[in-house]
Symmetry: C2
Subunit: 381 residues, 2 copies
């Protein structure tokens, strides 16, 4: 999140959940603080520190404690309906850490990474931090265009193909099963490693969780996180990859120097998983976000009928086009009227999506979202 | 820690603290698990999760929550006797994360980093992960040789000068005040940023804590950690630097994507700091480690009179020379006799210190250390 989000958050958190706040911040891809399961963490902390008298506070296993990885494997297998080997999992301090480690260890400055455009703006930041060249390939309602991807990879080799396969940030698009196979085949043929950053996959409103992209295949690294489904502040995520990739990550100075990237929060999350609370928690989250998405969609259709978007089927976002409008100019006016969003050009290094806005519905009930859309309408007028 | 350490740990933890264990592992730079303050963390967790109903589980402040940074500033000011501005602190998930971020953001592959040789082996790993060229400059009992450093920097520019200024890993050397000034001046004159990795500074056996190297100066970045003074598993450390450095770190994809590198453990540590327990805890640690160091020194003098070393005045390590012996060969025999250490060549990319061993005294009482030295003696014979 940008600094401005933080400022907005700290000033407005208290007011954000009941009456409409002074600033309705549809920019931040955050859950609603008041809805975060503090009770689950309190109970988990009591259990973990009562039981574990020693090792949790010392240097721990680099890939995450065995108990944490086994609990994670059981959870992922149940939710995704795939086989999960705990030995293929590496516990991280969030998907961002996984992506950063992949860039450090498997790329060099000047290497190319292909992304499905528009893409997660902070992944672009990470690629820039590592001096990588980004090639953007657009797509459609089924995901990145496989033919355009083939052309891009034929034009020059790419080390990584970065995708958000399900309920993508910012577009909301979920790759179709056929497209996934096509894209995996193109990447494989060109020796490009696929990085699937799938942090929204468990937030399908109808509960039909997409399978993880290319799960278990050579040349595919899956990144996951509890940030969107449990608590961002836990900073617990995972990498699922082939043994050679995990071995290289384990051998890194960063990992060796720490002995496990985040053992205490990982133990808390494992305790939450073991408590059996997650299925009901996820059902509640999906229901809440589905309600909010419906509320935002209804408000947009009612109040801003010219705005174009796909109704989301999961995740956090509506990717909305304001025909004939420049989203940056609109944002400046919107701020003055008490509503914020992410302008579309944040999600590209190019010059596209100037008419687009990413609207997050994760943080507010439908009534506040509707008021936000009313303010947007005034900004448009 | 290397994988072999982990294996030794998991198998032998239970037996390691009373009777002499099957393997006395003097290789691992770990605290003794049984001595880690689980009670402090249990109380801190109860307090944090009872009090904080929301924000701790959401995306938080990138540099660490204000309360965490203020508690850290108060602690560092009291312990080091320096002024500490919380705005110059950035809470990390350990010193390793700080070093990795500095490499990502302020170096490019092929850049040079100068180190005081011998140096922390996992820093060398991190530099290799980032494609950096390492130039080693030796020193004496006062630290890295300032004249040799000047020659090295005159021969070619270096982005970073990496130092462990106090109770260094592995040498145990603490830079003298004069040497610190000389080295800072040389680095400044050549435009080289000094990275002071000072994780042992608060473990002076006589309680006379060295000041942090170049505190508050332009061109100096101080890394710190609670790993050696409270609990490695917390993964909480800090960066102290000028605003431009902290701004760049805050703007990184890794940090922006996470919203605070480790907020829950940082809140637990802040709670421990606020409880007022740290001064007594540190006094007890210093006393324990001083006893253990004395025990190891006495055993070496008694049992291995040919071995050469400086008696440590703080930290975790004795850096011991076995004249005429190859430490790798010695280690192979020692393993069979139930004792391990880090061979000296781990701490260099060159061909020096083959007769040296790093012996950690942090993990065992004096009686076990003495038994370890007896086993070493048998390996030598």
């Amino acid at each position: 999140m940008a600094r401005s989000d933080t400022e907005a958050r700290s000033g407005l958190e208290a007011a954000s959940d009941s009456a409409a706040p002074a600033l309705i911040d549809l920019a931040a891809g955050h859950p609603e603080s008041a809805a975060l399961p503090v009770d689950l963490f309190r109970a988990a902390a009591a259990a973990v520190f009562a039981r574990d008298r020693s090792s949790i506070l010392n240097y721990g296993a680099e890939r995450g404690e065995g108990a944490s990885r086994r609990a994670l494997a059981t959870f992922l297998a149940a939710e995704h309906g795939v086989e999960v080997d705990p030995e293929r999992l590496f516990v991280t301090a969030g998907a961002s850490v996984g992506l950063d480690l992949l860039c450090t260890l498997f790329t060099s400055p000047g290497d190319t990474v292909v992304v499905a455009a528009p893409t997660y703006h902070l992944a672009l930041r990470t690629f820039a931090d590592h001096g990588l060249e980004v090639v953007e390939v657009e797509g459609d309602r089924e995901g990145i265009d496989a033919r355009a991807l083939r052309s891009a990879l034929a034009a020059g080799p790419a080390k990584l193909l970065y995708l958000v396969p399900s309920f993508a940030n910012p577009s909301g698009v979920t790759m179709s099963p056929e497209r996934r196979l096509d894209v995996l085949e193109v990447a494989r043929a060109h020796g490009t490693t696929v990085v699937a950053d799938d942090v929204y996959a468990l937030l399908a409103f109808d509960g039909a969780t997409p399978a993880p992209l290319g799960w278990g295949r050579e040349g595919v690294v899956n990144l996951g996180s509890f940030s969107k489904i449990l608590a961002p502040g836990a900073r617990v995520g995972w990498i699922h990859a082939q043994p050679d990739v995990l071995d290289a990550i384990e051998a890194s100075g960063l990992v060796q120097g720490g002995g496990g990237l985040n053992p205490i929060p990982a133990a808390l999350v494992a305790e939450v998983l073991a408590s059996g609370a997650m299925p009901a928690h996820l059902r509640a989250l999906r229901s809440t976000y589905a309600d909010r998405a419906r509320g935002l969609v209804a408000a947009l259709e009612r109040t801003l009928p010219d705005v174009r978007f796909l109704a989301p089927t999961g995740g956090y976002f509506v990717w909305a086009r304001f025909p004939g409008r420049d989203a940056r100019s609109l944002l400046a006016r919107a701020h003055g009227l008490g509503v914020a969003f992410q302008p579309g050009d944040r999600f590209t290094l190019g010059d596209r999506w100037r008419e687009y806005a990413r609207l997050s519905f994760s943080r507010y009930p439908a009534s506040v979202l509707a008021e936000g859309v009313s303010r947007l309408r005034r900004a448009v007028d």
